[in-house]
Symmetry: C2
Subunit: 769 residues, 2 copies
Amino acid sequence: MQDIGRRSRRFDALDKARGTEKFASDIYPPDMLWAGALRAGVPHGILRRIDTAKAEAMDGVVAVLTRKDVPGTNRQGFVHWDMPVLCGTRVRHAGDAVALVLAVSRRILAEALKAITVEIDPLPVVDTLDAALAGDAPNLHGLDTGNVLEAATIAKGDATTGLAECDVVVEETFFTPAQEHAFIETENGVARMDPDGTLHLTVSTQAPFRDRFEIARALGLDPSRIHVTGPYLGGGFGGKDGATVQCLLALAALHAKGRPVKMWWSREESLLAGYKRHAARMRFTAGAKRDGSLHAVRCELDYDTGAYAHLGVEIMALGMEHAGGPYRLPHLEAKGRCVYTNNPVAGAFRGFGVAQVSFAFEGMMDRLASALDMDPLDFRLRNAITRGERNCAGVTMTTSTGMEECLLRLRDHPHWKTRDAWRADAPPFTRRAVGVAAVFNGMGYGRGLADYAVAKVRLTGSGRIRVYNGVSDMGQGNASTFVQVAGEILCQPESVMELVQPDTDRTHPSGSSAAGRTTYTYGKALIKACEALRDKLFNRAALMLFVDDGCGFAMIPGGVRHLPTARDVPLAALAAMMHPDDRISMSEYLMPVTPETVRGGEVFRLGFPHLLFPYAAHLARVEVDELTGRVAVRDYVAFTDGGRVLNPQNFEQQVQGAVAQGLGYALTEDVLTDKAALLAKDLCTYVIPTSLDLPDIESHAVETIEHTGPFGMKGIGEVGINGPLPAVASALFQAGLPMTRAPLTAERVLAALGSADQPRIADEATPCP
Amino acid sequence: MQDIGRRSRRFDALDKARGTEKFASDIYPPDMLWAGALRAGVPHGILRRIDTAKAEAMDGVVAVLTRKDVPGTNRQGFVHWDMPVLCGTRVRHAGDAVALVLAVSRRILAEALKAITVEIDPLPVVDTLDAALAGDAPNLHGLDTGNVLEAATIAKGDATTGLAECDVVVEETFFTPAQEHAFIETENGVARMDPDGTLHLTVSTQAPFRDRFEIARALGLDPSRIHVTGPYLGGGFGGKDGATVQCLLALAALHAKGRPVKMWWSREESLLAGYKRHAARMRFTAGAKRDGSLHAVRCELDYDTGAYAHLGVEIMALGMEHAGGPYRLPHLEAKGRCVYTNNPVAGAFRGFGVAQVSFAFEGMMDRLASALDMDPLDFRLRNAITRGERNCAGVTMTTSTGMEECLLRLRDHPHWKTRDAWRADAPPFTRRAVGVAAVFNGMGYGRGLADYAVAKVRLTGSGRIRVYNGVSDMGQGNASTFVQVAGEILCQPESVMELVQPDTDRTHPSGSSAAGRTTYTYGKALIKACEALRDKLFNRAALMLFVDDGCGFAMIPGGVRHLPTARDVPLAALAAMMHPDDRISMSEYLMPVTPETVRGGEVFRLGFPHLLFPYAAHLARVEVDELTGRVAVRDYVAFTDGGRVLNPQNFEQQVQGAVAQGLGYALTEDVLTDKAALLAKDLCTYVIPTSLDLPDIESHAVETIEHTGPFGMKGIGEVGINGPLPAVASALFQAGLPMTRAPLTAERVLAALGSADQPRIADEATPCP
């Protein structure tokens, strides 16, 4: 059985381990063409001319397409339609596609791309926030607001008065870098124009249903004639939420004369053209009272969205919504700006705007605790938001709110209780400290964008149970959990279950795989669908057994049982008796939203504010090498409130994955550029942590109950990534090394060591032998 | 906040720690009398004469009562009315009360009791099962069936055919002792006849509502004129489920001329006259197939119910129902006999008949695994019951069934994985072994006896929330959990909550504190009552705020909030506006039962069979001193499926308490008698483990979801006690010491060491220095 609460094996585990599960990148249809884009290569300029003649003449080249071949609006971006499929005259970043080639092999494709000549007149490069905001900055998108895509201010209470009332006030400016998703499976898909005129794409995507509309608008097609299949993803993390290969592939298919076309970005192309996490600058002023109560925060958040908007405004909105932390905060003023530059395009990324501000608000908490001479954990506990209070943005927390409990459990952890002894026991030339962070993350789309799912479950003709999953599984395990949910309600073992992955022809619109929403929203819909199927099976079995009604029946593996008379009806027998239409059960669910408003939040039409939040308290035991500045995280502990846990193993893996990615963000990952040109071109120069670089990551669930959620759960796909950077920074702060710029590289820490005080070697009388 | 899932401080903790919480034994009303019973002192005989004249003449003696003073049926026992309040002519055990004295002080009471002369003609003593079942045995209750109170046989499949089909068959007879509840607060209460003719008792009881009927029948009173108050208990464990002091106290109050009367049994009286766990003899034959599947069990269970029935038949029924273990078992035949003797009266005790058979069925599992050359844990896993299957008694498990998951988690525990190394690392003259046990325990009353609760919650006039608890809290923490449940639904912190303990005038009938049912049943009723109160508060607040209806409201601490308009209404304002009747919300809940029947189970009209079961897998690391036979449990681990956990701290404490009591049962506790006369008269001769005798007890929750339960929970009050004896015995079995008689004392283990092989000292060339 795959009961809820059980550490169930993932339904997808065996097929993935065996390699029999097919990802989009595993698909090589017969007679297939390869498609590839020529990238601009310069970050800003005017495209004067493209000479494709030589490439077109090459043997094995089927087509070379440019802007003039795009039949529709040529605009991508599912909120702000500002990103061309193929550039016309203006190039805004080095990864802009300027031409698309179809060839019979990957080798010929590469040669043809090289054979295209492009003339671009360079323009001044806007490579920093300050450059973009300067009065004389080139206007990248011709907005009246210059390069400011959106500016907004939200407020709760009165930050000016609030700060004046504080006994201690601290100020700091924090910087976080762009981050690469670095999924194993880079952006890819296959497409073909079917003989009936349907355009069929199989693509590594987080949003197959929405992709249809994005492709249709960009290319002037009928969305109902676009069919998208979304297999399991080899990672997504937000980087496949929005068009990557979709429009280019669709355009290619239009010119492939019915042949299938495959596009698969190399790691280098993925780094160049894929979406990144927004780099951010965050100016914070925060104040507290002598009694330890956090009282007022004022902040200015600037997000660098790169050349195009993607979800930049929505990401900024989440940053602002979370800017006061998971705390009881009477006064908040958060200003946000989302700014265009010529840097790589920033977009959705796990932690969606919140990973950035978590560094800042937790940094402020450390500084305030220090100013108040309070223990940093006690200070957080003192201010932790609880249910029934308004959160920092002013929304009443009517849903489960486990922040305080996470911190209480962390306080009881041996690593916290023994922190002084551990610190005192540091080896020579080493500083030790234990850092903590309290974080949260809005779950679901928030108000303004219907967060819904439509679930379908079917009793198959042979008496098996088939779940039609409408929302992509990018590795987080939601699909497997759906099997578990159906198994729980219908009391069927894994061996009876089948699973259909998202497909716009077979499954039903259920939103994107994003915002920690998949299991919550689809799960709720699926529970209703399964309950309705169960009741229907009872009623049909009652007909077969000549009993009055469906009462007294129970599901058993492989069938239903009439308990009063001890008669079983196998599912196969029921299936044989029922019409195919009768064997389907569908249901829908719409996530609740808060009816409350946030002052100044009206400008955000989509996804603001949130009602549901998971919470986490993280601890990092950190060693700093005083000779090199290298930071090593020795132990890591996460307490996470995700409501009820459906599969403890999945829960643990998701926390561990998020912490691993967060430690990369904290320590090494940085999409370095020079004048907006990539320096981190591959995984040798863009450094993600390997298993050898990571400590053991302890994950503990703090099981509150979220009444609105399926079996009481909340989604935790994102919250875990928000903790590592502030937790490590908190440890460094305890070690006398206040850091304001991430990642916390050895160079930066060494500089801090030099400025803070001399490493201990200066005090040594004799060198070590 | 006291949210569900939170490790909340117990609501009763502070008052108990400070001593301000009043137990029944803390009550000393002004002008109070003491009541005490004279005990027969001989186990069997004919009461010829009682001379009370000397006692009656003593200064300070208010009354001396005998059988002739009892106005009603003089029969106690809430299923089988066979136990006299005061003996008439027949004495059936040494603790039988023959006279009741009321005196102004405890000292005078003791002297008066000594001054009474009793003449009893002794009869042959029936002190063992064999003696009771012998053809010429004295017939203790004049039944046609001799001393057999009830005999029954339940069956599933065909055990004869099943055993013939087995590849291995093992046989064994197991013996378990009587066990003393040994609560800290011995049996006690106070009673008085109020001026209006109401009899008011405040008593340490698990069933205040049922007590009224038991008193009324025994003494010929009107139950509606009996008022019982049930404060917190200083322990119960089943020993206060049924009349102890109640009828004697009520009788005393009838003769106290309006003065309050207190009765409080000494430890010695509690050992002599209180209820015990049934001693049992269990003959088992069990067979399995070569493939490792458990196939058939036949058993004969004999329970010694002592002098009176109490719940002996129901306890035997539970033993029979669980006799095949938490396993998939095609064939079971379980015969049971519940037998009268002159031993101390046996009655309800945590583990209710199941603690006994757990020793036997798990002993058989060890022996079968050994015969099959299988790992004992793998063998259990191979056969663990899962949801949708029929359990050993034939009931389909339609509710959460976490046996397999508990075992899987145990298998991953370091103590299990390192068992070989640990065993090999034993010090000299020491044997080490790791034992496991898989256990379960029916939850709730089962079919035939309505397991219901009626909950009440009130918004007080000052805007606080008051929960009226209808079911005793004997220390397990259900009352505190009710506060937590109400706090969760109504979003109120502990500081706003009030709690009324059971009282037949103020709270509502909600059954006894027994069978792991309290939080489940009352909790379900309370959730409904709180939801109804919440909805009512929303609707009343809507009237106050001139909005159309109760939509858009949320509970916040101390009030309700209209979210769309950000207006709050304090609970105090609502309370001031609402009529007292309008501020009450009540609801009821009835636990579901299975409609299935068990072959042969028709004789059990009450409490058979069960639908809901918690499960547990236990592990004991055991060291045996080869020189003394002493068994030391070094480490103990319990994985428990109790569905969802409401308060992790309570859950852990309850498991730890049960394991501690179970280890006493396993190792030292034995109500030793000689010719039915007590040898274990006090806590020097009846040995319960102290904290120094116990290992650390690790408790892990395996959180399945029980759809019928409050927030998905099941009760775990009992299951934990069933594991220690079989787990320790399993370790001894692995160590080459198969034990069949509990407790596993040093004497018995030394004997087994002697018979199994010589201790290693015989091989030593030289003695230790």
